[in-house]
Symmetry: none
Subunit: 400 residues, 2 copies
């Protein structure tokens, strides 16, 4: 639903909405047993919720489209992932809690290896240790260019964040990462005349960085991609007329929540910490986004058992979430991360919504197979927000 329509119809009351996002929730059948992670895990509380809730499968972006973390979450927050995009550079900044200013241009950087002709021989510089990355970043941070402040921040292994800070910078810039080996990295090109000054600046940075990296094999060069400025997004709280609080252990998810104007609460490091935060701030917000990461990490590791265990950890807190008596309780995922694929995937994601005003689907369990038969069927994740608001009685009638 268009956010302008939601804005027009939103009314306030004292109901509470709780959205639990188990990152990468959906999975695929294990080749030996034919059962998915959700089917194999022991999740009695989620199964009981499926009995008491309205269920379905969310489509984060579209059939066949594998979402990154940005679009996966923005959809669940009601934002059309094609209209509201978060550049790679910005996502990288969010991921390390780097506070971007409106004038900043951020890019994702890779240290890489080039041969004597300057051709890329390893796009990831043999995945150098993170400590080496930090040392290189400290060195590159000393590059001084006129009229611009430069930040080079280590992320992990060969990955880093570059931020250029000055008034008037533009982000319509091409990548220097050729996405393949055997070629010389191209210069940054302006994708419009207004970005030419910024392109020159970025190329001056690259030239100086190349000098400093020269001879430091395997990280003797760098690649930049995803130049982006912090996007302007309407605040969820302004659209929906509620106070939205976010609880997430990982910075990237806190950053995504901040992008849509949520108040980010201190979350600690474990799910129990997150739960304690939720309890402590329960009376301060109308909408809570509670993020759990391990389901996704285990999937990306291809560790079926670890993903089962993560699902069981989520399951164990369900009774405590129910004890808070949210008017609308939802369990969702931003995308699927099947252990069998060791990656995000395009598969629709199990979803449930429990509310006094939702007719229970009486499903016997909560998983990919059962949710397909839920009353919501297969539906766009962007509809989660209007559904939540309707069941919290926070939307008035459309039209007379």
């Amino acid at each position: 639903m268009d956010l302008d329509v939601i804005r027009e119809l939103a009314i306030t009351n004292d109901t509470k909405i709780l959205l639990l996002v188990a990152d990468g929730l959906g999975g695929l059948p294990h080749p030996d047993t034919g059962r998915s992670e959700l089917e194999a895990a022991n999740i009695p509380h989620l199964d009981r919720l499926a009995d008491e809730s309205m269920c379905g499968l969310t489509l984060p972006v579209g059939l066949g489209i594998t979402p990154g973390s940005g679009p996966g979450h923005l959809s669940l927050f009601g934002y059309d992932p094609f209209k509201y995009t978060v550049g790679r550079g910005v996502l990288e900044a969010l991921g390390i809690d780097f506070h971007l200013k409106p004038q900043d241009v951020a890019a994702r950087g890779n240290f890489c290896t080039v041969d004597s002709e300057g051709r890329v021989t390893d796009r990831r510089a043999g995945r150098i240790p993170t400590e080496d990355c930090a040392e290189l970043c400290a060195d590159l941070s000393q590059i001084a260019l006129r009229d611009v402040e430069i930040f080079v921040e280590p992320v992990r292994e060969h990955r880093f964040l570059l931020v250029l800070r000055a008034e008037g910078l533009r982000d319509q810039l091409s990548d220097t990462d050729p996405q393949r080996e055997g070629v010389v990295p191209p210069p940054v090109e302006a994708l419009g005349p207004e970005a030419e000054a910024t392109a020159r600046l970025a190329n001056r940075f690259v030239a100086q960085a190349a000098q400093r990296l020269n001879g430091r094999h395997p990280a003797n060069m760098l690649l930049l991609r995803g130049f982006a400025k912090h996007p302007q997004m309407p605040a969820m709280g302004d659209i929906c007329g509620f106070r939205a609080g976010a609880i997430a252990v990982y910075p990237m998810y806190r950053g995504l929540a901040k992008l849509v104007g949520m108040t980010v609460l201190p979350a600690g490091t474990t799910l129990q910490d997150e739960l304690a935060t939720l309890r402590e701030h329960w009376h301060e917000f109308d909408f809570f986004f509670l993020h759990y990461k391990r389901t996704d990490s285990a999937g990306e590791d291809g560790d079926f058992e670890a993903k089962m265990a993560a699902l069981e950890e989520v399951d164990a807190i369900i009774p405590e979430l129910c004890d808070l008596e949210p008017d609308v309780l939802m369990v969702a995922g931003d995308h699927s991360t099947p252990a069998a694929l060791r990656a995000h995937s395009w598969h629709p994601v199990p979803f449930l919504l429990r509310s006094r005003w939702a007719v229970p689907d009486r499903l016997s369990a909560f998983n990919e197979r059962t949710c397909r038969g839920g009353s919501l069927g297969l539906f766009p994740a962007t509809e989660v927000l209007p559904l939540a608001m309707a069941h919290a009685r926070r939307l008035t009638k459309y039209g007379a």
Copy 2:
């Protein structure tokens, strides 16, 4: 489906389509029994139709969106409820059979109570009796302004209709109804420079009305909202190449049918009267819209038993509708009105379509739960029209 596509593909033949709209058809489980109004009612004929028909749940506007009567019906008639909107003032005029001319601007009025400082203390003037409203309207009708004709028509209790008639009027005007008490009603403001003359006119009317109402506690002031002109909509008959007839007891639904160019037939006051009209005019039209109101009224009253009784009244005429042998018979609702909510709601609405060319879903009953499993699943109400035309063999092939 886009109406232009339907227009392009429409062909004529001698088939007949009958759309029975039970207003507010969908419901919710009764808290004591867990059964909805449709599940609890004794509706053997509708249940048999569910066995013989293609079924599903219509989504009038979108997931989570509660439709007003305007959007709910326009969707069923095939009109995108976001593209074609009917202002509050126009709907109010339709509801009392006031014939708006193209140059008219209509507004919904409330008599209200203000204190000595002019602040609203009761937005509904204690819901004065309709007779008092009529008397006040007669008085306000005597207000004379240069270059404009004024109509002030009673609706019900504190509600009335204001119509300004003159060439060149615009409806981009703000409300004087502050939607809350304790504040002085703001003046009408032009929402664009071209509406300034109309705004001045409306404010002159308000000033004179305030003088006349002064001292007539509790109705000592008025509030205006939803200024609107009669919208221009393509006629359904032109799009579909058929003659469309409407049978509805309540003026608002006759008005909505008129908006989309249907011929409004005299309907009497009961469902039996409507049925008699249908029989009498059966050979004159290709498409019939038959509207039944009591399902909605009972739901709005929160009267579960009355809604059951209303559904049983609808059920009783099904054999007679079948006896007419329509090529396509559809039973639909413009929205749900669960007795449990005492209001329109966002819940999808049971739907069935019986035709020689529709494979029967063999559902055991006609209700929210069974229709969810019908072959149409959850689908936009705007698709009802193309489905009806297809099954009436009134749409030719798209593309070669």
